[in-house]
Symmetry: C2
Subunit: 396 residues, 2 copies
């Protein structure tokens, strides 16, 4: 049967990353293409112990329907933690538990955008969020970036050219895919522009705590006096992604709308998962756990970047990030046919990386590729980069 | 700050049921207003044992990111179970795991409806689904029902008057709130109308297995040769709602679109929950478990209905259902001001029931109220109905 699908789903394309990911399993391929945390990063024993205790002591609470805004002790814990660690302390704000930060991002756009409205984002940006926005029939406007993230003057221009922009979407810490962190001054500039133009900001911060170099930069939300920032947080990188637990911190009026959407979308987030996260933060030293993961990732990242310097010629510029999960490599000569390069690399050299073009909402050529260092072992990284070097020198 | 919310969320109203539910806790109030399974219905020990085993043996699989379509063994298990138990065996169909049946319903509407399209549903219908549909800026068209469910002639009329109807939403087994089950002949009639008008059917079946009287009626999906039925199934009533695990069975082309939406909405359903459900069905006798729950609910339902006969005058007609979770009581004289009745009942007699008006998408007066029998204990039912009787006789 030929179905008449809605306009929204007709334009949806599978995430190239997740589709690639399926192909990349087995077959001797080394995957530098993923975006998963390392399996070593999961507090397996602790979660097992906590789950056992919860199902022994509070089984009905863990299995019954729960409230849409999320498990109250967890919401209070998040508010206190965000205040202490991220400086997020606006009185009129509230917390909504979501099924991962992706749902928080998607909801923020649903709350503020009608069909035909637009979201401004980095010209090279996390495709999962952009696809979520597109599935709401929202236009995506890419804004030029430099090594400090979105360029304020370019954002101003975009806002003038596209008066339908209602939301600016940012990943200020260790952006996916570029790894770039936006400095404080730039954050203030972007905030002021948003305020002046009366548009909202989604501050997506899945990687912020995975810092292995340098100093934390205050979140935009921390100086959001006006209540125009929706902060999206995630437990996927610091506890476990399979739990699908994340949150939105925003003005109570926004959270109230989000709670309604949540109620009608999936009633509430899996309550056992919410209780597990709450107990984990309560019982264990989360800071120590995060330090451990970050150190582990930092070592692998540095290892990868040192090898890249030896393997690739200087015209390939690789950004060594201060945290997060990705290294971004760009052919500064602009000659590289990235799709052909990536395809050959996978087929003939059995190494999977992601073409940067995938992350360009407006289409176009990035001349870049993204490497993940959290999942592969060091010896795999070594083997993969040796092959990458060979492929590079044979490029035609 | 005054926010400019999207049209979608501006019109959203909190579910009167869930809001009422919050008020109904404590304070000596007996709640016949809920829609939760009884806590005795949860296989607590079994789930605890399974969770322990999974987190011991396959912790990484249970905590890592997973595929959007859902845990493959669970999808295969559902397909096999649906074939054996529900006669659902269309070759071109596939299974998508969702965060509860509510998400499956919402997705089906997103897949087929543009803004301004319409969904036809029973004139008195489950408010959670209707609110989900409305949050997509979709029009709701209520169709008149009788004691066999939606009336075919009225559906035909609605389709003629509203050419924008793209989907018919049905709960054919133990409808919420009326408890009515649609007979097989009526199911065929509705299916043929949908086929002739090229509209889709969402067959929402959260209660179908909770039958305590009479014989199962084949699902509409079981004779869906054309692939126009999206069947929404749930583990909330037969395992546990807090897990937020449900599914859609539909043509593979529809499931493919649903998988994309899932990917961009919340990536995937909590994987530990999916593995728990899979193991529960594999290790234990689910049929015996369902028989046990149904018997337990059936006894309470019968107890409630017998008491209602004694307590209320004949002009209040109560439908004793063959399964599900609700008894529906209607003042056939049409004189009852239901909102005033329900309010007084709660405030002065400390008994919470739901006004039938809440379930009417087009607004209007139902002269009915809904009673839940799964949560309250028998002695609570007795006490509550005694108060209900007193309130009735004092009505003004």
């Amino acid at each position: 049967m030929e179905y008449r699908f809605s306009d929204k789903v007709l334009t949806l394309q599978p995430s190239a990353i997740r589709e690639l990911f399926k192909l990349m399993v087995g077959d001797g391929i080394i995957a530098l293409s993923g975006g998963n945390p390392a399996k070593e990063a999961f507090p397996v024993k602790e979660i097992a112990e906590i789950a056992k205790d919860i199902l022994e002591r509070e089984p009905v609470e863990a299995l019954q329907y729960s409230i849409s805004e999320g498990y109250t002790p967890l919401r209070e814990q998040i508010a206190a933690y965000a205040k202490e660690k991220f400086g997020i302390r606006r009185r009129e704000d509230a917390v909504l538990i979501t099924s991962g930060a992706q749902q928080a991002n998607d909801m923020a756009v649903k709350i503020f955008c009608n069909e035909g409205d637009a979201v401004a984002c980095d010209e090279v940006c996390f495709i999962g969020s952009l696809s979520a926005f597109k599935s709401n029939n929202v236009e995506i406007v890419g804004v030029k970036t430099d090594d400090k993230g979105m360029i304020p003057e370019k954002l101003e221009q975009a806002l003038e050219n596209h008066p339908n922009i209602r939301v600016i979407y940012l990943i200020p810490n260790f952006q996916n895919p570029t790894g770039v962190t936006m400095p404080l001054e730039r954050r203030h500039q972007i905030y002021e522009i948003a305020r002046a133009h009366k548009v909202m900001i989604i501050e997506d911060d899945p990687y912020g705590q995975l810092r292995f170099r340098g100093e934390d930069v205050p979140s935009i939300k921390s100086f959001d006096t006006e209540g125009i920032v929706c902060y999206s947080g995630s437990f996927s990188k610091v506890v476990a992604p399979g739990l699908r637990a994340g949150y939105m911190i925003a003005d109570k009026k926004i959270v109230d709308r989000g709670t309604l959407l949540k109620q009608f979308t999936d009633v509430h987030t899996n309550i056992l998962a919410q209780m597990i996260v709450y107990e984990y933060y309560k019982r264990y030293d989360i800071e120590e756990h995060i330090r451990k993961i970050s150190r582990f990732y930092g070592e692998k990242c540095h290892y990868m970047c040192e090898l890249l310097k030896k393997t690739l010629p200087p015209e390939i510029k690789c950004i060594e990030p201060d945290g997060g999960m990705f290294v971004w490599c760009t052919d500064v000569t602009g000659k590289l046919d990235i799709d052909a390069f990536v395809k050959k690399l996978a087929e003939e050299y059995k190494v999977a990386v992601i073409s940067g073009d995938v992350f360009m909402p407006a289409g176009g050529k990035s001349h870049s590729f993204r490497l993940n260092f959290t999942v592969p072992e060091k010896d795999e990284i070594k083997k993969a980069l040796r092959r990458l070097g060979r492929r590079w020198h044979k490029r035609s």
